[in-house]
């Protein structure tokens, strides 16, 4: 029996982003902040973009944010995603600042998604890594 196509997973040995992805296995959404100048750095990387004497430390997001923009994908040629249409891709602004690309899940219909909608992380687990998807915030 052939293996079903899967979601493309991140490269866990990519030097700048490996630590972020390793932490997702513990359902932690990490981002960096500079101890020297306070700059929140996103996406993860080794150097501070705010100063040249930077020292980055990891912070953990509380996992809530709002949708900045989104699209409902109705056509994809990807072996996995072609069977997921229609699905929602969104840019989410975490309350701590970082804006990340993700999918909105846990919705009755894609048309229910809107800009400004409050969302929370909804982790999708894989072998050594979890994907930070989001779903509408439930109070």
């Amino acid at each position: 029996m052939s293996k079903l196509p899967t979601r493309p997973l991140p490269n866990l040995s990519e030097p700048d982003t490996a630590a972020f992805w390793r932490a997702t296995a513990e359902h932690e959404f990490r981002f960096q902040q500079c101890e020297n100048c306070g700059t929140v750095v996103w996406h993860p990387r080794r150097h501070c973009t705010g100063c040249v004497d930077g020292s980055l430390v990891w912070q953990v997001s509380a996992g809530q944010g709002a949708i900045y923009s989104f699209s409902i994908v109705r056509q994809s040629y990807h072996p996995f995603f072609r069977n997921q249409v229609p699905y929602v891709v969104a840019l989410v602004d975490l309350d701590e600042g970082p804006r990340f690309l993700t999918n909105v899940v846990g919705i009755d219909t894609p048309e229910a998604v809107h800009i400004g909608q409050r969302v929370m992380l909804a982790w999708e687990d894989h072998d050594d890594v979890s994907m930070p998807l989001v779903r509408p915030l439930t109070e």
Binding site: T17, Q75, S76
Partner: protein, 399 residues
């Protein structure tokens, strides 16, 4: 209009005739054919070329490989590669080199077999490859190329009330021009477009949704193709076969996602004013605007960013057909038919320069009467995330 420096001019152009080579030609072969014909258009030959500009789409380390392949010995090599706007960067760099006396004849070429390779550039594609840290954060989400632009469109609608009917005006205007361009009609036939005719706003908004809010007729085609542009010094230009098209202003910029960033504007906000200031002209004076139409929203955003209208007012501004070549009140948009309806092999920037030059020579199939000033604005990468902007302002020899 103030007098501009006229040190460098487009003197030769060529657009590859076919949009579907059925895998029988390579991108290098397309580049060489276009180069030869653009040089012939100028009345020049290979041995006149002393500067090479290349975006490395045909071969790796193209500064080396292209020179050997063409059989020329350049004294200046520039392999700036910033996606589809590379050719606007190249034109600006060539002009600077010529002004500085470092080059006399610069050759820009482009070739692509995207259609033959079945690369999904326009509809449903996943965008460009490579594992950068930024991309390693994003690939899991299955964002198609269309969805990237769609998110910019959605945000524009949210902030400014822009409608799909307004965005459709971009598609309608470019198709209006395409139907007057036999090469564009042939392209749509080669690529098996279903219904090849002038379109209406209703046609566009009733076409299939690809990634909300962008419909099929708001997305560029995926073709094979190529082109070449020859840029020469004033001294060389005087003896060329065709009237020179002067490069009078240029600006470049890049933009990428940042915390709290704005998705409703592009890097054109930074490249445009530099180009207009150098040229000493204003947007209202531009007769022809060649703006990279990967999608409808790309053009609407860039029209605003370049100052043709205020930010957020683009939707209302494009209503009523002011972008058509035979109407007043705005520049003629993409008079060759654009990426939406004539030619999009992946990096369309060179065609913006080619059609702008045609207009200022009086050779377009949707000729603006007495066109004096044209603008070519390339957007490379992706509007909804990281992208480059190259603005070039051109003047005809008659002004």
């Amino acid at each position: 209009m103030t007098a501009q420096a006229r040190d460098a001019a487009i003197v030769g152009i060529h657009e590859f005739h076919s949009r579907n080579v059925d895998g029988e030609l390579s991108s290098l072969q397309i580049k060489a054919e276009c180069a030869a014909r653009a040089l012939a258009d100028a009345g020049l030959s290979w041995s006149d070329v002393d500067a090479i500009y290349d975006a490395s789409e045909g071969a790796p380390m193209s500064g080396l490989t292209i020179s050997e392949y063409f059989g020329i010995e350049p004294r200046l090599v520039d392999t700036t590669a910033v996606g589809g706007s590379s050719y606007e960067f190249h034109a600006a760099h060539a002009r600077e080199a010529i002004r500085a006396g470092k080059a006399r004849v610069a050759l820009l070429t482009y070739g692509s077999t995207a259609h033959s390779n079945a690369l999904a550039i326009g509809v449903g594609g996943r965008g460009f490859g490579g594992v950068t840290p930024a991309e390693n954060m994003e690939s899991f989400a299955g964002q198609t190329l269309v969805a990237n632009y769609a998110m910019a469109a959605r945000r524009h609608m949210h902030e400014y009330g822009t409608t799909s009917e307004q965005l459709a005006e971009i598609s309608v205007a470019t198709r209006y021009h395409a139907m007057r361009n036999p090469a564009a009609v042939e392209a749509m036939e080669e690529l098996e477009f279903i219904d090849i005719r002038e379109t209406t706003v209703d046609d566009v908004v009733n076409s299939r949704m690809i990634a909300d809010p962008l419909h099929l007729l708001e997305c560029c085609m995926i073709s094979d193709g190529g082109g070449a542009v020859v840029i020469a010094s004033a001294e060389v230009a005087r003896n060329c076969k065709k009237p020179p098209v002067w490069i009078i202003g240029a600006g470049q910029a890049v933009k990428y996602p940042v915390i709290g960033g704005d998705l409703t504007s592009s890097a054109a906000i930074d490249s445009g004013p530099v180009a207009f200031a150098e040229a000493g002209v204003s947007p209202a004076e531009i007769d022809v605007a060649m703006i990279y139409d990967s999608f409808s929203i790309t053009v609407l955003t860039i029209l605003e960013d370049l100052g043709f209208c205020a930010k957020g007012e683009g939707g209302a501004w494009v209503e009523g057909g002011r972008l058509r070549f035979d109407q007043s009140g705005g520049p003629a948009l993409n008079t060759d038919g654009g990426g939406l309806s004539s030619n999009h092999p992946g990096m369309r920037g060179i065609f913006l320069l080619i059609e702008a030059a045609r207009q200022l020579r009086g050779e377009s199939t949707a000729q603006v009467a007495a066109a004096k000033l044209a603008l070519a604005h390339g957007n490379g990468g992706m509007l909804g995330s990281r992208h480059s902007a190259g603005t070039v302002i051109l003047a005809g020899d008659r002004t």
